[in-house]
């Protein structure tokens, strides 16, 4: 059966899925804490500009920081209350960044405005992109790239596919899964909105076959046209299909997803536009729907808390700016076995030092791993076994690239394709010598920006 | 030197020429005083090798040398140099032949082989051989020369260790020239040196060429050498 299921052609690994830990439980809403820290910049691109002052009163959904330039996104207040201070604090990635401290007054003033009956009026189609932009929607799969930018291809490019990424190929994470299951109609409606903006009718939602309930929910929503319930005006026609994909990491990587569904390969150094595709995450689709149909800014998201060292693994709906400690408390706390904690999935997530960092738009999961799960090990010399070469979905030879990096030969390392690396971690996952391959590639990328062109 | 004013090209050339001239003169002088000893050393060397392969009491005359084919270039592969040996009475008692084979492991191999009992083809005896030049692998192919500088009395009997034993006091007419591994080699075959079959074959080939030359042209050689002896 899996042999007939589509997948990307080259490389890939199949780690322990771990989805069962958190997939079964219901979505839990985390109690909003007294104090939130909202990072000023939560997207890839130009940092946002703070527009509130210390001591100012804010409402739910009020802009705290506005987009600065075309590739940027605004940040909204998740609660109503008072701006305590604007300063630096530690965020995910163990570095300090500007955050806006807000004291929650518990009244949620202004939230009512977003709770009305959602309406998608297709006669206002020209306004959709602006609503998405001002709602601060960014890619929720983890990369956090401003969604509006991805929905506006260069004028000379013909787009014929909108691909929706419901793979959630990262092990353990089920945040997208629960959205697809519980809010399938809204997700599909969000897809339709994006397709309308792009002017394409072919929408493909790729979901790995290890999420049968999600596939079923989406298919039902599509076939019964549930999503059109909120539509008004001149509704364009859509060809929306759910595509089951083989469970294989990194199925959800942008270029791999495009290859799996359309058979097209995005050339090195180019964007999906170049092969007529736009890729958006399912969570993003939902946020787009909220932004267009409810005019509701992005100020909360679903975070998977899971791993062998958390008492109640599951999916938690949390406001942006909620400290991780509040989520941990909601999940019943961590156990003694905790050895490593990661923001994101096990393959691409970032280590956490403590529980003080706030939830951000791009945070898809929090892993609390036991020593056995984290599987940290001393690295030894490369034995040139070639496993990394076989695992690399980008057709690179990680062992060779990193060997050059070890000798600080950045140009050599780049000529071997270091900049094509998507940092999926497949190579390091399979490495019997436990080499820190991804870190070395990142180092190469870092130096590549300093090399004379 | 470098901090002097740049010299003219003419001066530079003149100095080189002068230095070269002085060097040439010096060399000419050295050449003159060493010419004689060098020639003598070479002669002695050749003589010693040739003398080894003919029976004791048989004295090789380098001057009596024949070149076959006649008039050939002495260095060429197919050229054989044939030397007569005379006993105290001036009778021809032995013939030494230098022959060459290029099929060694590292190419060229020069061998001298000595013959006695020159009465007829049937009595013609291969007395002994001596490899004068080779570039075979030390310790492997080079074993073809094992003990060749020692007296045959010390050689023992293992033909696969002392290659010369194969060609010591053999009737030319009975030798088969087939080179085989020592275990498989018959009495009249050549037993190859262990792990050096190619080198062994090359030597045997050179000796075979020499032996057949002597055997086939025995009367002609005897006549030629008799006349040489008379002319002295």
């Amino acid at each position: 059966m899996s042999s007939v299921t589509a997948r990307f052609k080259r490389g890939g690994v199949h780690p322990y899925e771990g989805k069962e830990l958190s997939a079964a439980s219901e979505l839990v809403t985390v109690e909003v804490p007294k104090r939130l820290q909202v990072p000023v910049t939560q997207h890839l691109g130009k940092p946002s500009k703070v527009v509130v002052e210390k001591g100012q009163d804010v409402q739910v959904g009020q802009i705290l920081a506005e987009a600065d330039g075309p590739i940027s996104a605004p940040v909204h207040s998740p609660v109503s209350g008072k701006v305590l201070k604007i300063g630096d604090a530690e965020i995910v990635g163990a570095y300090r960044a500007p955050v806006i401290d807000i004291m929650n007054d518990g009244k949620f003033t202004g939230e009512e405005a977003f709770k009305g009956t959602p309406v998608v009026n297709w006669d206002e189609k020209g306004d959709f992109l602006g609503r998405i932009r001002s709602a601060g929607v960014v890619g929720l799969g983890g990369a956090a790239f401003p969604t509006a930018v991805k929905l506006r291809p260069p004028p000379n490019v013909k787009i014929d596919h909108l691909l929706i990424n419901g793979c959630e190929c990262e092990p353990y994470l089920t945040a997208d899964d629960i959205l697809m299951r519980e809010r399938a109609a809204e997700v599909v409606a969000g897809c339709a909105i994006m397709a309308g903006i792009l002017g394409v009718d072919r929408v493909r939602i790729g979901v790995e076959v290890n999420k049968p309930r999600a596939i079923e929910a989406l298919s039902t929503a599509i076939s019964q046209q549930v999503y059109t319930a909120t539509f008004k005006g001149a509704i364009p026609s859509f060809d929306i299909v759910t595509v089951p994909l083989r469970t294989m990491y990194p199925q959800g990587a942008e270029k791999q997803l495009i290859e799996a569904i359309t058979g097209r390969q995005v050339p090195s150094g180019q964007l999906p536009f170049s092969v007529g595709c736009v890729v958006q995450n399912v969570g993003t689709a939902l946020a787009v729907f909220d932004a267009v149909a409810r005019k509701r800014p992005l100020f909360e998201r679903v975070v998977t808390l899971t791993g062998g060292a958390i008492t109640n693994p599951g999916n938690y709906l949390a406001r942006i700016g909620t400290p991780v400690s509040a989520l941990v408390a909601a999940a019943g706390g961590t156990t003694e076995a905790l050895a490593a904690q990661v923001a994101g999935g096990p393959m691409m997530g970032k280590s956490l030092r403590n529980h003080d960092v706030p939830v951000v738009k791009g945070m898809s999961g929090l892993l609390f791993l036991t020593a056995a799960e984290a599987a940290a090990a001393e690295e030894t010399d490369c034995i040139r076994c070639g496993r990394c070469v076989n695992a690399c979905p980008m057709g690179l030879a990680p062992c060779e690239i990193t060997a050059q990096a070890d000798f600080l030969k950045w140009e050599k390392s780049i000529s071997l394709g270091a900049l094509d690396c998507v940092e999926c971690g497949s190579c390091q996952y399979v490495c019997p010598a436990n080499r820190f391959l991804v870190a070395r590639v990142r180092l190469t990328k870092f130096y590549s920006r300093r090399l004379p062109k | 030197m470098s901090d002097k004013a740049p010299e003219s090209s003419v001066k530079a050339v003149v100095v080189v020429v002068i230095i070269a001239a002085i060097c040439a003169a010096g060399l000419a002088f050295v050449k003159q005083i060493t010419e004689e000893p060098i020639a003598e050393a070479r002669r002695q060397e050749t003589l010693a090798a040739l003398q080894r392969v003919v029976p004791a009491g048989c004295e090789i005359k380098l001057e009596g040398k024949l070149v076959r084919p006649e008039g050939a270039d002495e260095g060429a592969a197919e050229t054989k140099l044939i030397f007569p040996g005379y006993d105290a009475d001036g009778q021809l008692c032995g013939i030494a032949v230098r022959s060459r084979n290029d099929k060694g492991y590292s190419g060229k191999i020069l061998v001298v082989s000595g013959y006695s009992d020159l009465e007829s083809r049937e009595t013609l005896k291969l007395n002994r051989i001596y490899v004068t030049e080779h570039a075979e692998t030390p310790g492997l192919g080079s074993l073809i020369t094992n003990l060749q500088d020692e007296e045959p009395a010390t050689w023992g009997t293992d033909r696969s260790k002392v290659y010369g034993l194969n060609f010591l006091d053999r009737l030319v007419a009975t030798l088969s020239w087939k080179v085989a591994k020592s275990a498989a080699a018959g009495e009249n075959d050549v037993a190859a040196v262990t792990a050096a079959t190619i080198s062994s074959r090359a030597v045997a080939g050179a000796v075979q060429v020499a032996a057949s030359l002597v055997s086939e042209d025995l009367d002609g050689l005897k006549a030629a050498f008799a006349s040489t002896a008379r002319s002295e």
Partner: protein, 328 residues
């Protein structure tokens, strides 16, 4: 939970359960059939050679690591020295003087491996370096092949030796195929039994320690090459099956050429590597001075691996589309 005790690392945070040690011990396991076959045919002396070689390799490995300042305890038992030791022994005649075995182990570990920086950095297969070193240094001892089930000191030529010395007809007549297959012929103590080595190769394939490219192309190239020479001159050259079953092809193709450290990393590179090994093996066997060419062939190809890896890198993602676009 104090944050000091947290594991902080760069992604990924998951690993599969494969480790260098596991890989190495799988290879050791795969060598077991050949070890048993060697012991059956060449007796306890063969077992002694193997044990000595392994122990000597471990000792030299320990010393070399100590000298070069590496952690001895953690990596000594990663299995690589055990494998090198076993493979060195497999490449020796069972009657070899024991001190030469120790020299072989010394050469393999020090000259073949640690002068380059230890496991993973050596360009040449250490066991083959040792074999060639011994073969060149002690030609007589290294070509004295004890007879299977034989008593001490009785030696015979290897099948390929017979072929080179006596010609194809004698070789075909005196050595039946089933003896080549089960290993009841003269030769290095680990290379005679084609069937035991094949079994080991299958273990390696199934456990995914090696991939099919190198052994299959190696053996296929020998088959094709010798088929051609056999068809051209059947009286002079022996048939391809005989070539594949005799000498070191099986040991070389399954265990020596597939050594990860000294073979290419990309699939295309592996294919070329296997073809090259087979090609040079045939060239040496048919036209060079040594009856057997597997070790030299693999060492030659080892030397070419950096070039192969450079020019036969895996096809990068997007390359296909880019060339198509250029054409269109």
């Amino acid at each position: 939970m104090s944050e000091n005790r947290m594991i902080l690392q760069s992604s990924p945070h998951a690993r599969d359960r494969e480790s260098v040690r596991k890989v190495m011990y799988t290879v050791t396991l795969a060598l077991l059939p050949a070890v048993i076959a060697g012991t059956v045919f060449f007796g306890l002396r063969a077992l002694l050679v193997m044990a000595l070689s392994v122990v000597a390799c471990l000792i030299f490995e320990g010393i070399a690591m100590k000298v070069s300042g590496k952690p001895v305890k953690e990596t000594l038992l990663d299995g690589s020295a055990v494998i090198t030791g076993l493979l060195v022994a497999m490449n020796l005649p069972s009657g070899l003087p024991l001190w030469m075995v120790v020299v072989g182990a010394l050469v393999a570990i020090v000259l073949g491996k640690h002068v380059y920086g230890g496991l993973g950095n050596n360009p040449f297969n250490p066991a083959l370096v040792a074999r060639v070193f011994l073969l060149i240094s002690f030609p007589t001892a290294m070509t004295a092949w004890p007879v299977p089930y034989g008593t001490d000191g009785v030696t015979a030529a290897t099948p390929l030796g017979v072929l080179q010395m006596e010609g194809a007809a004698v070789a075909l007549q005196s050595i039946p195929y089933y003896n080549l297959l089960i290993g009841n012929v003269g030769g290095c103590l680990g290379e005679t039994s084609a069937i035991a080595l094949l079994l080991g190769g299958i273990i390696l394939l199934v456990r995914k320690v090696i991939s099919w490219e190198i052994p299959v192309t190696f053996i296929a190239t020998v088959l094709v090459f010798t088929t051609i020479t056999w068809l051209v001159a059947p009286d002079k050259h022996i048939n391809p099956l005989w070539h594949v079953l005799s000498g070191g092809v099986m040991l070389g193709a399954w265990f020596m050429a597939t050594d990860m450290v000294t073979s290419p990393v990309s699939r295309k590179g592996m294919l070329l590597f296997g073809v090259g090994c087979g090609f040079f093996t045939c060239i040496i066997r048919l036209w060079a001075g040594y009856p057997e060419g597997v070790s030299f062939a693999i060492l030659i190809m080892n030397g070419l691996v950096p070039l192969i890896d450079r020019y036969l890198a895996p096809t990068r993602f997007g390359a296909r589309q880019a060339t198509q676009g250029a054409k269109a």
